[in-house]
């Protein structure tokens, strides 16, 4: 079976480092990311946290090579992620917030699409690979179902399984626990941590789920209004004295002086 040139070049399966240097992104007059610099180590679970609209997903899309920066660079093991050859070489996988499963394909075909299109192995091997991924995520019974027949949690798991079939060296997760109940969120957290241990993969997770972050992260970056506030470990984050970060992690409901009224004053 003929393989793509890039697939033949995929020589090692080691997790990859990611370097973000001076990254800025403007949409017209609006600045979404401002001078972000990060260094993500191989086989690390790196969580990017921040409130809604802080630019987390935009940063992730830059790392995935789906957006071009206004200034600065993103490099995966020294290579540009917007180059298809880089994505092919490291089998970069992105787990979308919505799942982004192909609605016209059933779960099995969604998973088999990548190896089939890239002719990575025989149909028998692809079958084994898909069934193995489904087994890891306890989805064997859903193989013939279509995305419209799946619950939100199952869609996320199928999306992770699809990433797993790619045998990636870098997985990017965009809000993997959004819209999920606490039990399913914990399950997804366990899956992310297990994949890192068993498959030696660098994981970048965008989330505003405090519990998930503090449980699975090796390091955490806090992003607010497009600016990087800090990069620290979960332990350092728990002990932070920074009032903005502390308020973000443990917001208190104050009925006497509600936040929405403060927002009205400031805007």
């Amino acid at each position: 079976m003929k393989k793509s040139a890039a697939a033949r070049e995929r020589h090692d399966r080691n997790p990859v480092p990611v370097e973000v240097a001076g990254l800025s992104k403007n949409y017209g007059a609006q600045t979404v990311l401002s001078d972000i610099s990060l260094s993500i180590k191989p086989n690390e679970i790196f969580v990017i946290m921040g409130p809604s609209g802080s630019g987390k997903s935009v940063l992730l899309r830059h790392i995935a090579g789906l957006e071009m920066p206004t200034a600065g660079t993103v490099r995966i093991a020294g290579l540009d992620p917007s180059n298809p050859e880089t994505r092919d070489r490291f089998a970069l996988a992105l787990v979308f917030q919505s799942g982004a499963l192909f609605n016209s394909l059933n779960v099995y075909d969604n998973l088999a699409l990548y190896p089939l299109e890239h002719r990575l192995c025989s149909k028998k091997q692809i079958h084994d690979r898909v069934m193995h991924a489904l087994q890891i995520l306890s989805l064997e019974g859903a193989a013939q179902k279509f995305p419209s027949e799946l619950s939100g949690g199952m869609k996320k798991r199928v999306s992770i399984a699809r990433a797993l079939v790619m045998e990636p060296q870098l997985i990017l997760y965009d809000e993997p626990t959004s819209e999920l109940d606490p039990v399913m969120s914990a399950t997804i957290g366990e899956i992310i941590a297990t994949l890192k241990q068993e498959f030696q993969v660098t994981s970048i997770v965008v989330s505003h789920d405090r519990d998930l972050t503090l449980t699975i992260a090796d390091r955490v970056a806090i992003l607010m209004q497009g600016k990087l506030l800090t990069v620290c470990t979960p332990a350092e984050l728990r002990a932070t004295k920074d009032p903005v970060i502390a308020d973000f992690l443990n917001p208190q409901i104050d009925l006497k002086n509600p936040r929405y009224k403060q927002l009205e004053v400031t805007t």
Binding site: R61, G65, L101, M166
Partner: protein, 250 residues
Amino acid sequence: MKQLNSILEGIGSAVLMTVRSATMLPAAPRIIRRVVEQAFIGGYTSLPIVSILSFFIGGVLALQAGSSMQDIGTKELIGTLVGESLVRELGPVMVAILVAGRVGSAITAELASMKVYNEIDALVTMNIPPERFLVLPRLLAVLLFMPVLTLIGIVVGWMGGAVVCQYVSFIHLAPEQYFQSLRQYLTVQKMFDGLLKAEIFGFCVVLIACTIGLRTSGGPREIGNSVTRSVVTSLISILVLDYFITRALV
């Protein structure tokens, strides 16, 4: 100025998509299943509506021609008029308009929703070019089914004309006479020209549908806007192209 920019951008994207899809042609043998699937969705399922429309258009043509030609004593030439009109003009244009409304709108809606719901981004991160996976199968499919659909439409239109000629009392032209005059002036070249027109129209409709679908951005509301834009652009393009192709062929 902004609108002109947008039109030029659209044309540029369509040209780029054609070129990219053409470079994917060596992958055609691998996508045969998807081509057949798209030909079935676009062509086979359009067959009943093409047949019904063609039958009545042929019938109306015969009726109109009959009422006028009766007066000047040339009703024996109704077959020629219906035959030529359908082959050279009405057949290809009518089928193309139908494909724009039925197939083009469905393609735009599908691709636009894939774009809005990140499925296209998922393809890009998986290094599967949307041009190969989504556009090329649809372009090849339309090239396959368009001449067949047009040919069927033309033949059914002729039949519609024949039925009207035989059963409408003030025309009352025997089918033998009708088909004899139809055959008299019809040539293979005219037939080929009609099918060529249909092929070009079909290709443009699908290209426009794919380009607008894949350029959609924003929320679900934009999907509806894209579908409207796709159908309107296709209809205008069909009629404009029709003039220039006809000019080149006559």
